[in-house]
């Protein structure tokens, strides 16, 4: 009798676990994802480079939807340069069950609130373009960063100027004093990329053996209109003394051009920017800018979305994606001058 009871009990256990597993398989099938929600928070909707990147993120998601049949809802919000606003946006995404968020930090030193909230709901975060400090990125294994190395962009700016100086030093050194007088239009006060670009661009020129003299530097917050205002003031003060204008990004370089056009300057200083935006490429093509440094927004957007999609679908990353330390993807910059500007205009439009 005892044996029979044991046999009976074992049969019941096997049956129940079989049904449980069967039911679990059915449940799993019901939960297979046919749609995902991706939240994207950018620091400022008026930053041209970031706008280009957002357009690429959306294009990528449209193509992926067609390819997979999985509905991808991509919700883009602008933090309006307020970290508090951005924290609230990420909290909303988390509370509304978004699968993953992509964050372009307002304050790169203040990612804690976002990370803590995302971690609390198991929502991976892909940071991009404005790099957070390494210690913060290490706080959780579902945090990633996609961007480019600022030092490289500054050095390339420096190289553009040096190449022009090598071609015709006298044409640039209008004062004939053997020194290059320049002004710097900087991104943000205390911003890592702005500081590094400022330093490395001038550093490169100096290391190549040229003497430089800073006439002035102004913070224009990556903003064209602000750059125009600051450049107006610099032109009033220094006028034809300015031989080179370094701008931490293209929007500010375009602001400088706006100022020069407004004052109808006949002989322009050399102007260099960073990013390779559509309008800046046209300026390079028409020789109003000596050059710019291409920031591969398409490559970065592709990397961001591949990581975000894999996280949302709980899949492994594509095999061709190599993340440094399992977290970082850096894409290289490229120099753009008159000779290759058209090529990049085509690349942008592809």
């Amino acid at each position: 009798m005892k044996k029979r009871i044991i046999v009976l009990a074992m049969i019941v256990i096997v049956l129940f676990s079989g049904c449980e597993n069967g039911f679990g398989i059915v449940k799993q099938k019901e939960e297979e994802k046919n749609s995902i929600k991706i939240g994207v928070s950018i620091y400022d909707e008026y930053d041209t480079f970031i706008s280009d990147m957002v357009s690429e993120l959306k294009e990528w998601s449209k193509k992926k939807e067609k390819e997979t049949g999985i509905t991808i809802m991509i919700d883009v919000v602008s933090a309006g340069q307020s970290q508090l606003t951005q924290n609230d946006q990420i909290a909303r995404f988390a509370d509304q069950g978004y699968d993953v968020v992509c964050v372009n930090l307002v304050d790169r030193t203040d990612a804690t609130v976002i990370i803590d909230k995302a971690k609390s709901v198991d929502m991976p975060v892909v940071f991009f373009n404005r790099e957070l400090v390494e210690v913060d990125l290490e706080r959780w294994d579902k945090l990633y960063y996609v961007g480019a190395i600022a030092q490289q962009s500054g050095e390339m700016q420096g190289k553009i100027v040096v190449d022009e100086l090598k071609k015709d030093f006298g044409a640039i050194d209008r004062s004939g004093d053997g020194e290059i007088q320049y002004v710097m239009l900087e991104g943000e006060a205390g911003h890592q990329d702005a500081l590094v670009r400022t330093q490395s661009s001038i550093g490169y020129v100096v290391e190549e053996g040229y003497k430089v003299k800073k006439l002035g530097d102004e913070i224009a917050n990556w903003n064209r209109a602000q750059a125009m205002t600051k450049m107006n003031a610099l032109l009033k003060k220094y006028s034809n003394q300015i031989e080179v204008i370094f701008a931490n990004d293209d929007d500010m370089a375009l602001g400088a051009i706006d100022a020069l056009e407004y004052y109808k300057f006949k002989k322009w200083p050399l102007i260099v920017g960073v990013n390779g935006t559509k309008e800046a490429l046209e300026m390079v093509k028409t020789k109003k800018m000596a050059g710019t440094v291409y920031n591969d927004f398409k490559g970065q957007a592709d990397a961001i979305m591949k990581i975000a999609y894999a996280c949302a679908m709980e899949e492994a990353f594509p095999e061709d994606m190599k993340l440094a330390n399992g977290k970082y993807i850096y894409l290289p910059y490229k120099i753009i001058t008159y000779d290759n500007a058209q090529q990049y205009i085509v690349i942008r439009e592809d």
Partner: protein, 322 residues
């Protein structure tokens, strides 16, 4: 005896096996019987942030009625073909009902009026002009525009120059607000200038072309007729550090914050929570009212910094704790 015991054992075994399968079957059947209606809410613009109040209203009503909401935004602001694609996609994906804020009233009109849809559709905030096949739930847009004009006439110097941002006129909500404003301001129409985008500014953000307008033309007051225009002019004014009064129609947290810090002089604020709530009730058949009746239930108010914290205004400006 042994035979009886064996028979008993086999019977018991059969009972247990049947019992397990019956429990399993019941659980499966219960799953199938729970039919949850799915409502797709398709909104113009690429961000759900500006629609937070409306979507909260829709979610609340959906919860009350046992429905599920799927919020769908666009990749751009005004791509009719994209929005049509989204409507088709949601229908094909099994949506039981659709709520839609159309991105372009004129271009979507033929599509929606000819759509042979077996599922209910209701429009929100902006419709497709007269004789539409589907109801539209919104405030009285004409009256909102008129109210803005009345308050400028009452509160401002008779000699002020007024710029109206004429943007997003492809939506009939903006057109009606504009008509309401102009009709009330008719006696002073020589003081109005219209700010519009140039051909090469069509794809620019509002702030950029408004910066151009602000630098090209000196005005005392700027009138903004929707969220995008209101936020755009605020950003332009702050960026250029200009001193100009803003009378706007808007619903976003940003607009409310700009009202609080006096960047916006007066804000016409409509109860989008109610639009979302009533829209969901209407599309799921919980209510069946005429457009006029629905419109009468959607309140709007003119709010200034001085009165934004009265009990009544707070209730509408801050409908829920975040």
């Amino acid at each position: 005896m042994k035979t009886v015991r064996s028979l008993l054992f086999v019977s018991l075994l059969l009972v247990v096996i049947l019992g397990v399968f019956w429990v399993y079957y019941s659980m499966m059947t219960e799953q199938e019987n729970k039919e949850i209606r799915k409502v797709s809410v398709i909104l113009y613009g690429n961000s759900s942030e500006q629609w937070e109040n409306l979507s909260q209203g829709a979610e609340r009503a959906a919860k009350d009625l046992g429905a599920e909401v799927s919020l769908v935004t666009m990749s751009g602001d005004n791509d009719t073909s994209e929005q049509i694609g989204l409507i088709n996609r949601e229908i094909n994906n099994g949506a039981n009902a659709i709520l839609i804020a159309v991105c372009n009233s004129k271009e979507l009109r033929p599509y929606l009026n000819n759509l042979e849809s077996k599922i209910p559709i209701v429009m929100l905030e902006t419709g497709i002009m007269e004789n539409a096949k589907y109801k539209c739930i919104s405030s009285d847009n004409f009256e909102m525009g008129s109210l803005l004009a009345r308050h400028i006439i009452e509160n401002e110097d008779p000699k002020v120059k007024v710029a109206i941002i004429y943007d997003n006129e492809q939506r009939d909500s903006v057109v009606k607000r504009y008509e309401g404003f102009c009709e009330t301001f008719a006696d002073y129409e020589d003081r109005i200038v219209l700010w519009k985008r140039n051909e090469n500014e069509k794809s620019n953000k509002s702030m950029l072309y408004l910066q151009r307008e602000l630098t090209e033309e000196a005005v005392d007051i700027v009138v903004a007729l929707d969220n995008t225009a209101t936020e755009g002019i605020v950003d332009a004014v702050l960026n250029l550090n200009k001193s100009v009064k803003i009378y706007g129609i808007g619903n976003t947290d940003k607009a409310v914050s700009n009202l609080d810090d006096n960047t916006i002089t007066e804000l016409i604020y409509q109860n989008e929570f109610s639009i979302g709530y009533l829209g969901m009730q209407e599309v799921l058949g919980a209510v069946d009212m005429s457009e006029e009746e629905l419109q009468s239930l959607i309140e709007f108010r003119a709010v200034t910094k001085e009165d934004m914290y009265t009990a009544e205004n707070q209730k509408m400006l801050f409908p829920f704790v975040k």
